[in-house]
């Protein structure tokens, strides 16, 4: 039972039309009535119901943002950037975490459509084309971030994981490393596949054989998984002199395990992570990492969705690829024992 325009009109002694026009400055109203209306608004504490408009002019000024988990600091920063940028354009965002559960994601998508968001930005969990095609059919602007599904007609903004990883592995090779362990994800998402390809190609281009036993999988994004994965790698017959991990925290866990085993970083084992999280510049030793370009990604995603909302046909679906950057720090160094 909140205060409505009727209450204001009654209190101000005018028609609801006049109240509306005063608030929106949509036609001339005498100074006296303007004053009456404004006073009534203040006294009653009236906040116009924006949702009503959505039923007329078809805009809610709300955008859905679906991601695996905003507590992941990189995603959190991405979300914050997106929220900031969109708020400047008067949009709010409804945030949903899938926690890597495709069913949850589907439910969230449904709710968002039901709440008539003006658009959806998503770091998808599901790889099921059908689901997204349904969304696309609604004509609600949809932007994919950080993950691509081939042959889906949708705007996409991704990081070039292939090149990023290729460059990092190449860097290790140039430092003399030949036995490079690789901590892989559990998923079959594009970004994961591309990353592994970067690893393989870098090795092969330098004439180093790819050895499957140097690849180990870690599940999740916690440092315990990183430590476990590193343990497996370090106990191999051919012990790697360098380890690449898909996520900084995994890399940190790996580093921890290396140190706990009495080895030195980078003297005995070099380590490279991914994302460029803030702590990577303050841990000990500082972590070499591939920086995820949060700012660029969020800017592009926002630009596209705003344009798409303004004009759904402003262009064909775009696929924007952003190049990540290798930040060289202390955790990766020359191999100490080149054979």
């Amino acid at each position: 039972m909140s205060i409505t325009i009727k209450d204001v009109a009654k209190k101000a002694g005018v028609s609801i039309a006049t109240v509306s026009h005063v608030l929106n400055k949509t036609r001339y109203v005498s100074d006296e009535l303007i004053e009456n209306v404004n006073n009534a608004v203040d006294e009653l504490g009236y906040y116009p119901n924006l949702l009503v408009g959505s039923l007329r002019n078809k805009k809610t000024y709300t955008i859905g943002l679906i991601m695996p988990s905003i507590s992941n600091e990189t995603f959190g920063r991405l979300a914050e950037n997106i929220q900031q940028k969109l708020f400047k354009h008067n949009y709010n965002i409804i945030i949903c975490n899938t926690l890597y559960d495709a069913d949850v994601e589907q439910a969230e998508l449904r709710t968002l459509l039901t709440k008539k968001v003006d658009g959806i930005i998503i770091i998808p969990t599901s790889t099921n084309k059908k689901i997204f095609e349904k969304i696309i059919n609604t004509k609600v602007p949809l932007i994919f971030v950080d993950r691509i599904i081939r042959n889906l007609k949708v705007d996409t903004v991704i990081v070039d994981n292939f090149k990023g990883t290729y460059e990092a592995i190449k860097y290790l090779i140039d430092l003399g490393h030949k036995k490079i362990g690789y901590i892989d994800r559990m998923t079959d998402h594009s970004h994961s596949v591309d990353q592994k390809k970067g690893y393989k190609n870098a090795l092969e281009d330098s004439g180093i054989d790819f050895k499957p036993e140097l690849v180990v999988r870690a599940n999740g994004f916690d440092y315990g998984s990183g430590a476990d994965a590193a343990k497996k790698l370090l106990n191999k017959v051919i012990r790697p002199t360098a380890i690449f991990a898909y996520f900084d925290i995994i890399a940190l866990g790996a580093m921890r395990k290396v140190l706990d085993m009495g080895l030195k970083v980078p003297n005995d084992v070099s380590i490279i992570g991914c994302d460029g999280m803030p702590f990577t510049q303050s841990c000990n030793p500082r972590l070499t990492t591939i920086k995820f370009p949060i700012f660029k990604i969020s800017k592009i995603a926002c630009d596209i969705i705003l344009k798409r909302i303004k004009n759904p046909d402003f262009s064909k679906e775009q696929e924007v690829v952003v190049r990540p950057r290798l930040i060289k720090r202390e955790s990766a160094g020359p191999v100490s024992d080149p054979e």
Copy 2:
């Protein structure tokens, strides 16, 4: 121009009432018509407009969440927890970051009221009572988290920063430390004031004089500020043998500075942080820290707001205080050089 109930009714050859009743199972409809309606829904890709209902039954199933910055990992986890819990009750959340700007916060509050959220959970930036009293007058349930404003009739969930800090300082004292540096916040918020009081009281209760020169301020939550603050402390005439910081990242920055100056942690300087962020268990050395009880806080906040939504008068405004916990790790140890 999205698909409406009319389109469905036409396609299914029934009235809009029947469509409504089929979708909501609110009255008997023959199997045949149910089937027709469901088919029409599927074929058209119809998503009912939930916002319309909000204008009738006065519920939007949307809750506003305002915090300084979700990219702060602790806040991010809090937000994620809250989102998860509320989603189970069919609520979505609109997230707003104030970035510690009170004006932004005020604008966000306004927008949320305008979008008729069913409630607002806020870690407030502003300390201005007037602003919040206005919100409270609207009767929209409001919950304060992690910050308290005295004499404001509002539900509040906070951490006992006094006790938490008291305990941490006491721990250092028991380890033999007498010169304990304190890195303080820039704000005058309750949690900050309480924290400092905990520091002072712990000292005094142990017969150690509080020395203002051992208190230094850092602005922000980045590790650079922590390093700067630590530098100031370490260059004091009486160099502290321990440093307490209000935030883990500040503590990490301080630790970094200590190491960079050629000192050892904890041998030369012990360090304690606040929040219990994940990286504190994997940095080197592992950080002793006061754990912020994210799970409890979010649970309590959600419980209260849901009850308040269901029944605004279910109880008087509550003030729940949660006790934090000191996690003892390697960054704090016995003083090496007790005089």
